[in-house]
Subunit: 151 residues, 2 copies
Amino acid sequence: MKEEVNTSLPETERNRLKHALKCRNLRPTRQRTCVYGVILEKRDHPTADDIHLRVRKKLPSISLATIYNCLDTLVECELVKQVHLDRAPTRFCPNRTPHAHFHCRDSGKVYDVSLDDERLSAIEQFLPHGFTADTIELSFLGRGPVTNTIS
Amino acid sequence: MKEEVNTSLPETERNRLKHALKCRNLRPTRQRTCVYGVILEKRDHPTADDIHLRVRKKLPSISLATIYNCLDTLVECELVKQVHLDRAPTRFCPNRTPHAHFHCRDSGKVYDVSLDDERLSAIEQFLPHGFTADTIELSFLGRGPVTNTIS
DNA sequence: GAACAAAATTAGAATAATTCTATTTATTTC
DNA sequence: GAAATAAATAGAATTATTCTAATTTTGTTC
């Protein structure tokens, strides 16, 4: 039995997802759509576990294994990027434009740092002859701008 | 009882370690010395587990927890860097000069990609105003130079 | 639209990485 | 050399991720 569940993914993104999946002979299942929706909804670099908690509000029976499956598919489709910081669980990011990440030691927050074409190609040129990269990950660890505190 | 074990760390590195530890009021224990020695010996970006196996040849009773403790200390002392690739265990690298990492999809090998001052400061300038980073991690995922294969 | 094949999901177990806790051992300081 | 502190230890605990085998869903063919 197929229940209709609103996985509330805006038209543009839904089409982007459908298209990217179709190119690879994969199906836009409810689970994949919903996982993608949740990642787009709150762009705070959630872990698989965070995503599981959020998706369960819409698809209460979804398992963590499926979350990982869906995420792997989305990464394959280049709709989502993985972020590897510290000895911490992998985080996921739907920002498809070239960008780096900044991880604040104080707040734990992760910020996107956008990279224009010039910067991106500068980085690509770091590679010695014979090496080609399909994925570049750049991350900073430090302190972000001082936020107001009660002092 | 103190057994003398040769942890075979060359003079220069031994001094570097001693100095870095002293600055932070930490002690150059046999375990720390040996872990550092092993990391310097074979610069293949080993995991904590790899390091455990290697150190045990010299200090057979050392525990994995101590390996992690020592590694954390060495990272704190800026003698060792952590490398975070994929959803894989953290690797450790004794290259103290600025460099990026290249991870080969085919062989799984990790290469250091050295960064001169110019490149490093170019990267630092990516950060928006108000952000300061003490650690920068840049990694590439792709294919390395083709090695000879039996075809 | 029934029947089959292929793809995807599922629960839960298994594995593996890392951290924690409580105890023991070693080192420094007085 | 005793007290105080730091570090190491074993092993348990926790957590992240993967795997397995069974079930459900989807797509295709007749």
